[in-house]
Symmetry: C2
Subunit: 337 residues, 2 copies
DNA sequence: TATTTTAAGGTTATCGATAACATTAATCTT
DNA sequence: AAGATTAATGTTATCGATAACCTTAAAATA
């Protein structure tokens, strides 16, 4: 590998002069600048970021930890984060925890050893607290995405989960539904709790009873075992006329399960959910959803993170951004008024 | 930040002893080992990968450069790559070129300065050649994914594009279609060229004429201007009864365009394409596709890359893996026999 | 007992870049 | 013209970890 010293030797200057040319610092005569640049081109010199990071004590690397790389909500979010990072000259590392605390823990280790300058985290849930405390202890700035974690104060970008869920429920009610069930992510995740509350609020505001047998709690993430969900569906007697899914992945899984058992959507069962499906929703505009502004989650979160990094030392108050969800009505709900 | 020296001082040993404890090398008495470990825990020590990389001349970082992070083909591929990387103790950086040579070039710079140990690249196309030459010149091992680039010899994982396209066409023909058009990615991309050939082969094998007015070439990537595609559709007179799309993104865009103009799919136009749609194909099993083994692309590519890195110096012959595509028949094609 | 061997640890140099300080020679000031 | 300033460049120390070599005391061997 060509180093700054190789350049220096060939150009008959000191390494420091080469460094100055590279970084455009100090005073360098036009002649030497040109000479050094020529030699750099000749030898195909590329600076060693590793060495730089060591002395500068910053890597210009940021990290985005998401919980499901197959979920269009997160890939769209990643796009936003990437764009914002690039704009400020940072590079971005991605990690994918699969809603799994152990994988998340591995990534936290990676983050700490790689000495990234900051992290954007969609935490797996409340038990992520020690991971965040670890980041805090090691002075790594971070911004939370989509989920709050009780016990830690920090910058955060949230969706208005309660309101979104309530609107989904009221949409169903407006179309005549009176028996509405819910599949949700783990109650150790703040957004799942709020979506449940929104669901309950929606029922209460319309004088409908809340029956916990009509609520099933599982994981937001890729599900490997659907037998429990199947049993839940069997247990509901009578079947509801509609189901609210806590996110897009759950909606897809429930729908598949229902169809496998001959229960058509939307003919025999209506389904709505949180989060849109990215480009797929264009090919068959099917699911009625409370779409979150995924790109904005990433973009604004990244902006907050970078601001936090740059204002290091000064103590800005923690910021909290709450983005509303848009109700997009398509055809997964049957009008039974 | 706590360093190895802080640990050494507090434990009354030398830095080297601490290093030995961390890496389990050399001979250390149980007593000192325990003492050092205790101090490391007390001070929350985390090794500095930056310093390590500098002296070891390796970062244990790999890079995956894809061309469209919103495309389920690539996110699935990324999952495979991630799993394989993790298995061998490597961390993975992602980049997203958006089928854009300039963005690709930026990522190549990032890759070189970050001194990653190896790269998995889905190149933007034939003009990516200088980028690959740059990697080669700097001795960065790489494996190509999905697309060949004339002029460079290297390890590569490909799909059987020609065969897949031919089978899509013959499927259409079997269902009575005689007038079949094609939207394709740029002819500067090897897989686009092969898909076009497969399309032509399919026609020829069935004694159907090839008419280049029925072929439209654009980009595989996110399209921002659809007017040209619109004009192409208008120009075709009479309209074909079916369209083969070079990939899933194109299929979605064409379908939207057709539907906007009142041409229903599959009632008035049949559509098939390369690459499946990930989870979405489960919610509305609609598009008939030649599904590529996306996960395997990533997994096997990563394995090849890691092998290449580990056998550095020895000169293994270049390997080429060709994965077949699976024809998945759904309901986007109308039977008109 | 004298000599090797080994276990357990320490010292020093190094990776590639940059910050801080030092050195020249030329230019400016009064 | 003598000292002060400045432009242009060089020297040395440093970031945190590890490789390669060195030291010492105890254990093993002849």
């Amino acid at each position: 590998m060509v180093t700054i010293y190789d350049i220096a030797a060939k150009a008959n200057v000191s390494a420091m002069t080469v460094s100055r040319v590279i970084n455009n610092t100090g005073k360098i005569s036009e002649k030497t600048r040109a000479k050094v640049k020529r030699v750099m081109e000749e030898l195909n010199y590329v600076p060693n970021q590793t060495a730089r990071s060591l002395v500068l004590q910053q890597t210009k690397l940021l990290f985005l930890l998401i919980t499901d790389i197959m979920n269009p909500f997160y890939t769209t979010l990643a796009r936003g984060a990437e764009d914002a990072a690039k704009k400020s000259g940072y590079r971005l590392l991605f990690g994918n925890s699969d809603e799994n605390l152990e994988k998340e823990s591995d990534y936290i280790t990676t983050i700490l050893t790689a000495r990234v300058d900051g992290v954007l985290v969609a935490p797996a849930g409340d038990p992520s607290l020690p991971h965040l405390e670890s980041l805090r202890r090691h002075n790594v700035p971070f911004v939370l995405l989509d989920r709050e974690v009780p016990g830690i104060a920090c910058d955060i970008v949230l969706g208005d989960s309660k309101d979104g869920a309530r609107r989904l429920v009221e949409h169903l009610i407006a179309l005549g539904h009176r028996s509405i069930a819910m599949v949700n992510g783990s109650s150790s995740i703040s957004s799942a709790r709020l979506r449940l509350q929104g669901y309950q609020d929606g029922l209460k505001l319309n004088d409908l009873p809340y029956d916990e047998r009509y609520v099933y709690e599982t994981s937001f993430g890729p599900l490997n075992d659907l037998t429990e969900m199947e049993q839940w569906i069997e247990r509901m007697d009578p079947l509801p006329t509609a189901i609210v899914a806590g996110n897009n992945v759950l909606a897809i899984e429930v729908m598949r399960l229902l169809r496998d058992r001959g229960i058509g959507v939307p003919e025999h069962m209506s389904i709505v959910c949180f989060d849109d499906l990215g480009p797929y929703s264009e090919i068959e505009p099917f699911l009625t959803v409370a779409a979150q502004q995924a790109y904005q989650f990433g973009y604004m979160g990244m902006q907050m993170l970078i601001e936090r990094i740059q204002e290091r030392g000064t103590s800005l108050p923690w910021k909290k951004i709450v983005l509303p969800a848009d109700l997009i009505i398509r055809r997964s709900v049957k009008d039974i008024t």
